[in-house]
């Protein structure tokens, strides 16, 4: 198990450095070709996203210089960017890819994008033949671990962006958002983003009202909604279930008395007001009305923060899970090395026995069947006795971290080749 990883990510390097390392998707196959053509590197994979550029490699003999690849590929001077580069080997590299795939290494812990990005990188590397056996096993395992973390912890359950928190709250009030209508007052960016989230959750009708009618029309067209003239600002509110306000008005637009009127017209059906403006557009007193829920930007931020806190707590559990998976992976890898060693030891000694018997046959002359059997039993007995201790030792160390040392010693003593011959 000779895995290596080297690169820069959001934890080690600022964006100015990360962008120097970035490899566009179209150039990945070529980069992978260069990587795997280097001495000692059999397999390679490159994950290049806005938050990380990481180069994974597997080397049979453990002689793998990823720094050299970085220097040659990007044309950096020796030692350039050295403080920003991180490097892991062996089990640490295994743990790293498990953590990255499980989104434990992400800027927003638990976000789901990274798994897709790693899967893409893996698919590209496989397509060009840069990932074949060892890295393939590692990545397959990493995807399984990511799935396990997602299923067994609540790390990715609660949303952490303001727009998605707003959509989640709307669902908590209205259940399914299918067929619900949204009223955008003001045409800011956050407003638009929140509307997009609500539409993604099923909201149907969109109204847009803005002091500049052109902007209202433009935004309404984007969502196939209806533009409302500023004079009819209040008339439209009762038709909307969710009101998102982000105007630049210096005073509040929606006050308690408006709320009472809206509720009356809506026969007390609940309303959700989202106030994204600073200074605020919606009088907080509106929240006191039965069936009206007002959330301002701070409230949303607070919910997002508390979700983030929950995620961090869950991340600690997820880390334990990953640790356990790394241990299992190591064990499996060691077992995978012990078994072939035993097989090749048996084959090796059996070949020796056969060739020695062949050599002695002329000197032994004609043997009776009983004698033939006795010689067979004698030679077999000897090699079994010789093999006994090495095999039991190999089996007993299979789960130890030092199993590699024993395997190497056995291979050297009996002059066995690395793979099953």
């Amino acid at each position: 198990m000779n895995f290596f990883v080297l690169g820069v990510n959001h934890k080690t390097a600022p964006v100015e450095v990360r962008e120097r390392f970035a490899i566009p998707e179209v150039r990945l196959p070529e980069a992978l070709g260069k990587l795997t053509s280097m001495d000692g590197i059999e397999e390679g994979m490159i994950v290049s996203t806005c938050n990380r550029v990481e180069i994974f490699a597997h080397s049979q003999n453990g002689d793998c210089d990823l720094r050299k690849f970085v220097r040659e590929y990007f044309g950096f001077r020796a030692g350039e960017y050295e403080p920003y580069i991180f490097e892991h080997e062996q089990l640490e590299a295994v743990a790293h890819i498990f953590r990255v795939a499980s989104s434990l290494d992400s800027m927003v812990v638990g976000e789901s994008q990274i798994l897709g990005q790693v899967k893409d990188a893996y698919a590209t590397a496989r397509a060009v033949g840069a990932v074949t056996s060892q890295l393939d096993q590692l990545l397959t395992r990493a995807f399984a671990v990511a799935k396990k973390v997602r299923n067994e912890t609540t790390i990715a359950v609660s949303p952490v962006s303001i727009a998605s928190v707003a959509a989640e709250l709307a669902e908590k009030i209205f259940g399914s958002l299918a067929g619900k209508s949204v009223y955008l007052v003001g045409a800011g960016n956050t407003c638009e983003l929140a509307a997009r989230h609500l539409i993604a959750h099923g909201a149907k009708k969109i109204f847009v009202c803005n002091r500049t009618p052109e902007r209202a029309v433009a935004l309404a067209n984007k969502f196939e909604g209806e533009a409302i003239s500023f004079e009819r600002l209040y008339d439209t509110v009762p038709r909307a279930d969710i009101v998102i306000s982000s105007t630049g008005a210096p005073h509040t637009i929606f006050r308690k008395e408006h709320g009472e009127k809206f509720l009356h017209l809506r026969k007390n059906r609940p309303m959700f007001f989202i106030d994204l403006a600073v200074p605020r557009d919606i009088d907080p007193g509106l929240n006191d009305l039965d069936g009206v829920f007002v959330y301002n930007i701070d409230d949303l931020q607070q919910v997002a923060q508390s979700h983030l806190g929950e995620r961090r707590k869950e991340a600690a559990r997820a880390e334990l899970l990953v640790k356990e998976e790394v241990r299992k992976f190591e064990q499996r890898a060691q077992n995978a090395e012990v078994v072939p060693t035993i097989v090749s030891l048996q084959q090796h000694l059996e070949t020796l026995r056969q060739s020695e018997l062949e050599r002695m046959r002329s000197r032994l002359g004609d043997l009776t069947p009983e004698q033939e059997m006795a010689v067979e039993a004698l030679t077999r007995g000897i090699i079994n006795k010789i093999m006994h201790t090495p095999i039991t030792t190999l089996k007993s160390v299979a789960h130890d971290p030092e199993s590699n040392v024993v395997i190497d010693v056995v291979r050297k003593l009996f002059n066995l080749c690395r793979k099953v011959c």
Binding site: I173, G175, R266, K267, Q302
Partner: protein, 289 residues
């Protein structure tokens, strides 16, 4: 079997006589698990217990049903006519409704309100079998059975209305105060709770109306007009009136939340009194005149 005098049949017969009570007690224990889980859930420790509680309650309902059917078979007429069996039947109805809601909305949260009721009703019914019963054969008519059955269905549905209005209030308070308590996080959405309460009101009120009408008819026939001054009758009519007002305000002004919850709670309180008035009522002493 009961006509045979041989000792084996006699033994089986006696066994059968006690079986319904045994099944009911088993059901009580299983509901107890459900109750325990509901309380654990309040402290967010019940996630694992939930895997045991749901099948336990399901099994409890099967035992409960078997117990009721056996009682009915044994006595030859519907045993709903004793108060203990009426309680037992009501508990099973409420449990059935809870299971329906649980399967439809995937939420165990109402359990905290529903299970205490189910448990108390079943427990009382399982512990005391020597309760009052209608002894007069004159009034063991089909109308009385109809009266009791539809009122039980009405009670069960309207209890759900009460529970959902309380849940609505809790969830809307939390949304207003921008805080979430873990057990409420698994509640269905506000509007879904609202619809649940409304639907159970729509379904429960006709049952209650029909049950009361049947009662009035039977009483009119047997006791004349004097029945009206009975505390249970008055309380029942008050309860009916409250639910009618609840439905009316819902239709005309869309009352939800605080006002509706207060009204539904008052209705529930009166319903409990009406149920408890069995012990005060002359008519409902379950003893013929």
């Amino acid at each position: 079997m009961y006509n045979c005098a041989c000792p084996v049949c006699l033994l089986i017969g006696i066994g059968f006589l006690f079986m319904p009570l045994l099944w009911l007690r088993v059901a009580t224990v299983l509901y107890g698990l459900g109750l325990l889980h509901a309380f654990l859930m309040l402290r967010r420790k019940g996630e694992r217990a939930g895997r045991v509680a749901a099948p336990a309650v399901g099994l409890g309902m099967v035992f409960h049903f078997v117990s009721l059917v056996e009682t009915a078979l044994l006595s030859g007429y519907l045993e709903l006519l004793t108060i203990r069996h009426a309680e037992s039947a009501l508990a099973l109805l409420v449990a059935l409704i809870f299971m329906g809601v649980y399967l439809r909305y995937k939420t165990p949260s109402p359990a905290a309100f529903i299970f205490p009721l189910i448990f108390i009703l079943t427990f009382a019914s399982a512990m005391d079998q020597h309760a009052m019963a209608f002894t007069s054969p004159r009034i063991r008519s089909g109308w009385i059975v109809f009266h009791v059955c539809s009122l039980l269905a009405g009670y069960a549905m309207l209890f759900l209305t009460f529970v959902s209005s309380v849940l609505y209030l809790i969830l809307s308070r939390q949304l207003k105060h921008k805080q979430t308590v873990s057990w409420a996080a698994r509640l269905p959405a506000l509007q879904e709770i609202d619809e649940l309460g409304y639907k159970s009101l729509l379904l429960g009120l006709p049952f209650m109306t029909a049950g009361l009408m049947a009662g009035v008819l039977v009483a009119q026939e047997h006791y004349g007009s004097t029945y009206f001054a009975d505390p249970k009758v008055l309380l029942s009519l008050l309860m009916w009136g409250i639910y009618l007002v609840l439905l009316y305000t819902r239709w005309s002004a869309g009352w939800r939340g605080r006002k509706a919850a207060c009204l539904a709670s008052f209705g529930f309180f009166v319903a409990v009194c009406a149920w408890g008035a069995n012990y005060l009522s002359r008519l409902h002493r379950f003893v013929g005149p």
